[in-house]
């Protein structure tokens, strides 16, 4: 058995006698006898470190992770980007990894300053001046955006584009059950654009994705006009990597911008821990969910950082708080700040261009080779749908045997309007020309 308890037998008995107790069980006299377990836990005996790692490796090896033997063209909110050594080494430093929430700012300047820098970068990505210190993931960021809009407008009708990540839409519906928001889905037409309802009565917010779940760019200005006329907020769910090329949500009039930050230096990790990005306007800052780091000074007059506007938060406002967020995803926020700094101004622009170039190469090649019907709508950065002669899930299963995770099947809970059954294909800067050529060859074989 491994144990991380440092006490020797002698220390345990002397500590017990210091307390006037005979045995460790005497510590639990306040628990009524009938409620005590009275037996050891029915769990296997403990193992040494090396045995644990071997056992976990055996389990982990039953997965088919992304690798050079399993080339990943799947996206759908989780992307196989290149990761780099310096961000990885820095992000793994135990001062970041094993710290608690920065409740004592005098000894937490490292995390606080990294979060301040993160907030700055997220505000630049989103084009909105206030960004919090992270939420759990893209879905939770959207849930909080919807709650903010309902609180601000005192209305309960929420209109979501069908082309918002279907998992996020489901999550919004789940949490809407509590306060009782009226969630409505606006369908997507065959070109991948949202068809918004004509009736704007009582709308708290419109939620549009940019680019949307299909990877396609929608007309944000049009939905902004609707929001303004209706007195509703505009919530934009954006792809942070696409912001290397596209105008920011803030520039297009978003009141709240949310995103999944996994693409900013976080491994695929079977979906978590990821990173929820949340930004808004100065006008809405007092409704901001989660933690916010601000700059201040210490008693010597030196610049210092601290969590601020704390009166919004659950530990102070309790049942009157508009969000219950306590623990967030700080470590992933720090990773994102380091990753974006490593890429830098030039590297980030180049990253976007390489994603776009790869996407263009692959979609063009598929069109040339007659692989299904590629749909690019009003434009795509790194992801697009293609309808095949067979259901996407069957194609994906067969492609696994050929060393490819071919994409995401727009089926079942992930089906989207006229795109039902299509294959959603993502191309990051990590995908080489040779991989794409082979991918298309194998797809052609499977579809033969």
């Amino acid at each position: 058995m491994s144990s991380f308890v440092p006490h020797t037998e002698e220390e345990i008995s002397s500590m017990l006698s210091f307390l006037g107790l005979q045995s460790l069980d005497d510590l639990y006299t306040s628990i009524p006898e009938a409620l005590r377990l009275g037996r050891p836990l029915a769990l296997p005996a403990g193992l040494s470190e090396v045995e644990v790692i071997e056992k976990m490796d055996t389990i982990a090896s039953r997965n088919r992770p992304s690798s050079r033997e399993m080339i990943c063209f799947a996206g759908g909110g989780a992307y196989d980007h290149d990761l780099y050594s310096a961000p990885r080494a820095l992000g793994g430093r135990s001062e970041f990894v094993t710290a608690y929430t920065p409740y004592q700012p005098e000894v937490a300047q490292g995390v606080l300053q990294a979060l301040f820098e993160y907030q700055t970068m997220v505000s630049r990505l989103s084009g909105l001046p206030i960004s919090n210190a992270s939420l759990y993931d893209g879905a939770s960021a959207l849930v909080e955006a919807v709650n903010l809009a309902v609180a601000k407008t005192k209305r309960s009708r929420v209109v979501l584009s069908e082309a918002v990540n279907p998992h996020w839409r489901e999550t919004v519906s789940t949490f809407a059950m509590g306060p009782g928001h009226d969630v409505e889905v606006a369908p997507v037409d065959a070109s991948g654009n949202t068809v918004w309802p004509d009736d704007a009565q009582g709308v708290a917010c419109y939620v549009v994705a940019y680019p949307n779940y299909l990877g396609l760019i929608e007309d944000i200005a049009a939905v902004k006009r609707r929001a303004v006329e209706a007195g509703a907020l505009l919530v934009v769910a954006y792809d942070p990597v696409a912001m290397s090329l596209l105008k920011s949500p803030g520039e297009l009039g978003a009141d709240v911008a949310v995103a999944e930050g996994q693409s900013l230096g976080i491994p695929l990790s079977f979906g978590g821990p990821y990173l929820g990005l949340f930004s808004t306007t100065m006008e809405l800052v007092r409704l901001l969910p989660g933690r916010l780091v601000g700059e201040t000074v210490d008693t010597r007059g030196n610049t210092a950082y601290v969590t601020t506007l704390r009166a919004r938060e659950q530990d102070i406002r309790r049942e009157k708080a508009s969000s219950n967020v306590c623990t967030n995803q700080t470590l992933m926020a720090v990773w994102a700040a380091i990753h974006l700094s490593w890429l830098g101004r030039q590297g980030f622009a180049e990253l976007g261009r390489r994603c776009l170039s790869g996407r263009f190469y692959l979609s063009s090649l598929m069109e040339q080779r007659g692989i299904g019907e590629v749909r690019l709508g009003s434009g795509s950065v790194r992801e697009f749908p293609v309808s095949l002669q067979r259901p996407a899930s069957e194609v994906i299963e067969e492609m696994l045997g050929r060393g490819f995770l071919a994409g995401v099947a727009l089926e079942g809970r992930r089906s989207i309007g006229a795109f039902e059954g299509s294959l959603l294909v993502a191309v990051t800067e990590k995908r080489t020309k040779a991989e794409m050529d082979r991918y298309v060859d194998e797809l052609a074989e499977v579809l033969k």
Partner: protein, 506 residues
């Protein structure tokens, strides 16, 4: 140009205590136009011009303004930031209710296994069998520990677990046709509890504590009526005491078809000793980042799995991993409340927690809690003369002491004690919580601190108390900390003059 205006990125380390301890410039100040870190791969694809592929109306005109630093600058800056940050790996962290125990390094190795780190969450079930097996195995461990029947691991933190549990409660009452409007919460509860209740659409009703620090059961009975959906309890509670009358509380709530929700913030006291399921709880959330030793990451990622009794399993979030006859699969429970996370939750945290459980095994997990309780009682007794415990009973894994004597004698407050402790090389305890104790110091040493560490921590606390009691040291306590990377921080100014990004600076 004065010296302070030169931001010499790579070589100047005056921001770390080792080399002077001044402030660290931001990464934006270290930025030099035209500089960059490493190169991206050449993927062999001809580069296209964005304007030829995407409508110019959508394209930004300038590259996004990110820092421009060399890799050497980047590493220096963030490494210096780590020198300005306390952590469990550096020393004791006796924050009450936070369970800041040591995070074993073997879990880091596990987290980096390719099948753990690099699996896509939307890969088909045939490609994620290991992950589903991992979650099902972790579920089996957690169910034995908590005495429950089924669990979801999707909630990303304790607070999300609370809300998930409350939505399960709500779905149950709707399914039964019950008309419920309110949830009871003790006055000592964490702030997330009432906030979660409001977000679930119920009204939070406060139950008073009695003089012994426990739920006042008579008052509770007075509050229970047919509209009570349930109660949220932490047991042991936030003052570190076991709710001895839990069976009576459970009966009163179950009598009106209410449900008992267990907040697992304090589970570290009772693993292998008593189980929430045996106490009558119906819904139990745990914090893998507390009890099961996964690192807190400076404020996350956490993981807040929710376990339920059999009759509530049909309401669990989907997709739900199950062990089938031919392999593992994902199902949607019959009356599922729906999805609560983009994917499956903070999955890598599950892998770390399972590695910890495998290492300790049943016996080790039981010893873990017993030693956490021994350490808390030992420390409580060592400092009791100067910091009287708010309640006399044997505590569980944490205790609440008060600095009210020091305040009366010398105007030294719990906050001053906390800050002075930082100068003595320890993280501070939780202060001013729970709200029902004046000048509260909530102390949780955890099982991984040695007797010598507890002795040193007690000596530091007693030294601070003696300074305050003598009156002479009171001023220096108000001025603490002095040896830390920042001295006392002006929190009011941060709120008054809001600067939350580099771009918002004057």
């Amino acid at each position: 140009m004065t010296q302070t205006e030169i931001f010499a990125a790579g070589g100047k380390a005056t921001s770390i205590p080792l080399m002077g301890g001044g402030p660290e410039p931001t990464i934006f100040e270290l930025s030099v136009s035209g500089r960059r870190s490493g190169a991206l791969r050449n993927n062999g694809v001809p580069l296209v011009d964005a304007a030829s592929v995407i409508d110019a109306a959508y394209l930004r005109t300038e590259p996004l303004d990110l820092p421009e630093v060399s890799e050497r600058d980047l590493v220096a800056h963030f490494t210096r930031l780590t020198h300005r940050q306390y952590s469990v790996d550096l020393g004791a962290y006796p924050l009450g209710s936070c369970t800041m125990k040591y995070n074993p390094k073997l879990a880091d190795t596990v987290a980096d296994l390719p099948g753990i780190a690099n699996t896509h969450p939307l890969a088909p079930v045939s490609a994620i069998q290991g992950w589903l097996e991992l979650i099902c195995t972790l579920e089996e461990y957690l169910l034995e520990i908590t005495g429950m029947d089924a669990a979801t691991f999707a909630p990303a933190a304790g607070a999300q677990g609370e809300l998930t549990g409350l939505l399960i409660m709500k779905a149950y009452h709707r399914h039964r046709g019950n008309q419920k409007t309110k949830v009871l919460i003790p006055d000592s509860a964490h702030g997330t509890n009432p906030a979660s209740v409001t977000l679930s659409g119920y009204q939070a009703v406060t139950v008073p504590s009695n003089a012994r620090g426990l739920v006042d059961v008579a008052a509770l009975r007075g509050l229970v009526d047919s509209e009570v959906a349930g109660i949220m309890l932490t047991n042991p509670n936030t003052v570190g005491l076991f709710e001895e009358e839990i069976a009576e509380i459970a009966a009163a709530i179950h009598d009106v078809d209410g449900l008992l929700y267990y907040d697992g913030a304090n589970l570290n006291a009772i693993v292998g000793v008593a189980r929430p399921g045996d106490m009558g709880f119906d819904i139990v959330h745990s914090n893998l980042h507390k009890t099961f030793a996964t690192p807190h990451g400076g404020g996350g990622p956490g993981s807040g799995p929710v376990a339920v009794v059999e009759r509530l399993a049909r309401f669990l979030p989907g997709p739900y991993p199950v062990r089938g006859e031919t392999g593992f699969d994902l199902i949607q429970p019959e009356n599922s409340i729906g999805r609560v996370h983009s994917h499956f939750g903070n999955a890598v945290v599950f892998a770390r927690a399972l590695a910890f459980m495998l290492a300790l095994g049943g016996d080790g997990l039981g010893l873990m809690s017993r030693m956490a309780v021994l350490n808390a009682n030992y420390l409580k007794t060592l400092i009791a003369e100067h910091y009287p415990p708010a309640y006399q009973a044997t505590c569980m894994h944490e205790f609440v002491a008060t600095a009210s004597n020091l305040k009366k004698a010398a105007g030294v407050r719990a906050l001053d004690v906390a800050k002075a402790l930082l100068d003595r090389g320890f993280h501070a305890p939780t202060v001013y919580f729970p709200l029902i104790v004046d000048e509260a110091l909530m102390i949780e040493p955890t099982e991984t601190e040695s007797r010598q560490t507890l002795d040193a921590l007690a000596a530091a606390l007693i030294e601070i108390a003696s300074m305050a009691e003598s009156g002479e040291g009171a001023q220096s306590l108000h001025e603490a900390p002095q040896l830390t990377p920042a001295s006392r921080v002006d929190e009011a100014r941060a709120a008054r003059h809001l600067v939350t990004t580099w771009d918002a600076k004057d």
